[in-house]
């Protein structure tokens, strides 16, 4: 019997480290050969810290919210007496527990080992069939056949643009040049996306194996993983994985004794969103400012150090070993006509079950939000989903039957992106969401193209004005005009995509913009400057708000309800923050 503690970043942030230490300290005296082990992320971030009890026959019992104080009872009842603790159960491998719905609709290819194996032990990856795909392709030694399998599988780049992976490999293979490179783009910069982090933390060897297979396909001996510095745990586990794979001969000068050489090196990003763009990423590895350049030539022809370079994203590489082992057919029977396989989504925002889900392409947004993720928190109304990060857009609740595939998502004005799906409810102001993204893109613009550098700044100024209640009638027209200029005159995806959050919110939530401008009201009651602060009957006259008020707008006697003078109120929100009795109403 084994006890496994989920020690991904989400788990650790929820206190799994303390739980792990508590189990280790107390499980020692137990007999029966019970081992305590680490594992990665199962994806149920909303129930962290997670502890799993796994019987030798493979039966799994997952417990949620396992704080250290629950450890004693777990050890005495489940481990000691063999009596599972029903009320803490999240799910079991035989289909019990309150959270089975979260896993029922999922199909796990990329996440196949996440939360199942210990990411720091190569033995467990090997037991799960690891490096068998690499062995097979090296034994067959048929790179063209391999590329055909990937093309046939229909795998498309999971980083956002959705370019067919096999085609990219073929271009790089056919490009003239002695030295070629494979780069894994792990610079997951989209705010709201964390699936690459989870895969790297929970199953780093799958990515290394995918890279080595790509190396064999295109004829490369050197791979780089460009990983963002904000992911210290992913970096640590990748370093361990690379060292283990080298020690076992899965990476190095003579992989599997076939004479194939492939080395992997980590490059830590230094914090620039634009480095997710492939030419900027290459510039960054070369030690320069991460600024994109004109394509063509594409990296497949002229990339890192001027050599042909194949760049894929983490999730794309993690798919590759599975496709090699199970065949193109097993992959392309999942999904829609043009989008095959599965997609991992990082679910966050106002939903009940936030975390990582891997669903087949072709599932609808409604199914993900309602069936998999349990709908909106606190019984509020579903308003929109934000897909694709700062280059993506908002898809309104009316279009919840849109299916997940590259083309259908593009039609709405959003993009598939890397897979961040932030769910918004009725309390979210869409103008504020647009302002948030523009604030991000204008700061992250590298400054090369004038339209991106200046245009995003001007758009942001207009949006700030609108959220502050100083919007003018012509602002929406100006926004649309600027949006099309920025979109059409920027070099890379950052600038071309930057107007999308504004364009989609204008398209689907225009009335909300108009309410801000014409009525000076924020329908979602979010924009502070447009709120009216009043004191309700919960006020007990404690005078805290009076002291907090910076404008002297609150008056009242001690012990009696206070009043806000709207003429003096400057909407600073200090009273609402100070009040401990929820007595300030914001409408």
């Amino acid at each position: 019997m084994r006890i496994l503690v989920g020690l991904g970043t989400c788990g650790v942030a929820s206190g799994a480290g303390a739980t792990y230490a508590a189990i280790l300290a107390k499980a020692g005296p137990l007999d029966g050969g019970c081992r305590v082990e680490k594992t990665g992320c199962v994806g149920m971030c909303y129930r962290e810290p997670l502890v799993e009890v796994r019987e030798d026959d493979g039966t799994r019992w997952q417990y949620g919210q396992m704080t250290p104080d629950r450890v004693d009872r777990l050890l005495t009842e489940h481990i000691g007496k063999g009596e599972p603790i029903e009320e803490w159960l999240v799910w079991t491998s035989d289909g019990k527990g309150p959270e089975t719905a979260f896993l029922d609709r999922q199909q796990r290819i990329v996440l196949r080992n996440c939360g199942v194996i210990d990411p720091e032990k190569i033995e467990e990856y090997l037991e799960a069939g690891g490096y068998q795909a690499l062995k097979r392709v090296l034994e067959r030694n048929d790179p063209d056949g391999l590329i055909n399998v990937i093309i046939e599988s229909g795998l498309r780049g999971r980083g956002g643009a959705g370019f067919p992976t096999g085609m990219k490999w073929r271009f790089t293979r056919l490009a003239p040049g002695k030295q070629k490179y494979v780069i894994c783009n792990a610079d997951e910069g989209d705010p709201g996306a964390f699936m690459d982090r989870s895969v790297l933390e929970s199953d780093p060897h799958a990515v290394l194996e995918g890279m080595a297979i790509a190396g064999h396909a295109i004829g490369s001996t050197q791979g780089y993983i460009y990983v963002r510095a904000e992911y210290p745990m992913a970096i640590e586990r990748l370093n361990i994985a690379v060292a283990q794979a080298e020690a076992r001969g899965f990476l190095g000068d003579d992989v599997f004794g076939t004479g194939f050489a492939f080395h992997v090196e980590l490059k830590e990003g230094a914090g620039a969103f634009v480095c997710g763009e492939e030419t900027a990423l290459i510039a960054s590895i070369e030690g320069r400012r991460g600024m994109p350049r004109v394509r063509p030539p594409f990296p497949a022809v002229r990339g890192l150090w001027e050599c042909p370079t194949n760049i894929n994203n983490v999730e794309t590489f993690a798919n590759v070993p599975w496709i090699v082992l199970n065949g193109a057919r097993a992959f392309n029977c999942l999904g829609t006509a043009n989008s095959k396989g599965t997609k991992v989504f990082a679910m966050a925002g106002k939903i009940r079950r936030g975390g990582l889900v891997e669903v087949p392409m072709g599932i609808s947004i409604r199914e993900i939000v309602n069936d998999v993720c349990g709908g909106i928190k606190e019984g509020r109304k579903f308003k929109a989903v934000q897909m694709g990060g700062p280059s993506g857009g908002c898809i309104p609740a009316e279009l919840e039957d849109t299916v997940i595939d590259y083309e259908s998502i593009n039609k709405t004005g959003a993009i598939m992106g890397s897979g961040g799906l932030v769910v918004l409810d009725e309390t979210t102001c869409m103008v504020d969401v647009a302002r948030f993204f523009l604030d991000f893109t204008h700061r992250e613009s590298c400054g090369k193209c004038t339209f991106c550098r200046v245009g995003t700044k001007r758009m942001l100024e207009i949006l700030v004005r609108i959220t502050e209640g100083k919007g003018e009638e012509r602002d929406l027209e100006k926004l649309e005009n600027l949006a099309s200029l920025v979109k059409n005159n920027s070099l890379c995806g950052l600038g071309q995509g930057a107007p999308n959050p504004v364009l989609t919110t204008l398209k689907y939530f225009r009335a909300e913009y108009e309410a801000h401008i014409s009525n000076r009201k924020c329908p979602a009651h979010h924009c502070q400057a447009l709120l009216t602060y009043t004191i309700n009957e919960k006020c007990n006259g404690c005078q805290v708000c009076m002291r907090a008020c910076t404008a002297g707008a609150i008056t009242g006697e001690k012990g009696k309800p206070h009043v806000i003078d709207h003429g003096k109120c400057i909407h600073c929100d200090e009273c609402a923050r100070a009040c401990r009795f929820e007595a300030i109403t914001r409408v």
Binding site: A13, P191, G192, A243, E268, F436
Partner: protein
């Protein structure tokens, strides 16, 4: 944050930087790893360090400054003993990250990009820490704290403050 890869059976020798040839394990592109190394050592990139890199590698000062100011990771000023990164990603934004930042300012008296006068805390705003389902999130040094409410911050900061008190006594 340049880390040494621990070998499968023990620690490997730390990677060495060949200053003269600007090579990092036989490859070019050493500038960013060098700056990262110095930032880990000093906490920030000082003028002296930039001059040192220039002297030893021959990379033009303009290029070093260019890189050091382009990337968000590189700081040009000394920082406090504890670094607090407040996440302002999408999920955190809609979960009131603004309130967390304000409350932090109430607690420490400094805002984003600033350091407390006692050099204990530096506050930074980051785009996304990748813990979106625990929003709102902040990270102190290497610890991530999730599902925060503005009122929780006093409690979250307490152990870091106590460590200071202990170190002082």
């Amino acid at each position: 944050m340049t880390s040494t890869a621990p070998g499968a059976d023990g620690a490997e020798a730390p990677r060495t930087y060949d200053f003269r040839n600007l090579h990092y394990k036989g490859e070019g592109g050493a500038l960013i790893p060098l700056l990262q190394k110095f930032q880990v050592e000093d906490g920030y990139i000082s003028r002296e360090r930039i001059a040192e890199i220039h002297r030893k590698t021959g990379v033009p000062l303009s290029q070093i400054y260019g890189v050091a100011t382009f990337y968000a990771q590189f700081r040009r000023h000394p920082v406090g003993r504890n670094i607090i990164k407040v996440c302002h990603g999408t999920a955190c934004h809609v979960a009131n990250a603004e309130g967390i930042s304000k409350s932090l300012k109430d607690q420490l008296g400094v805002g984003a990009g600033e350091t407390t006068p006692d050099r204990e805390f530096t506050v930074e705003t980051v785009a996304c820490l990748g813990c979106c389902s625990l929003a709102p999130v902040l990270m102190i040094n290497k610890d991530t704290h999730g599902n925060l409410k503005p009122a929780d911050l006093r409690k979250v900061l307490k152990p870091y403050r106590e460590r200071k008190a202990k170190a002082g006594s």
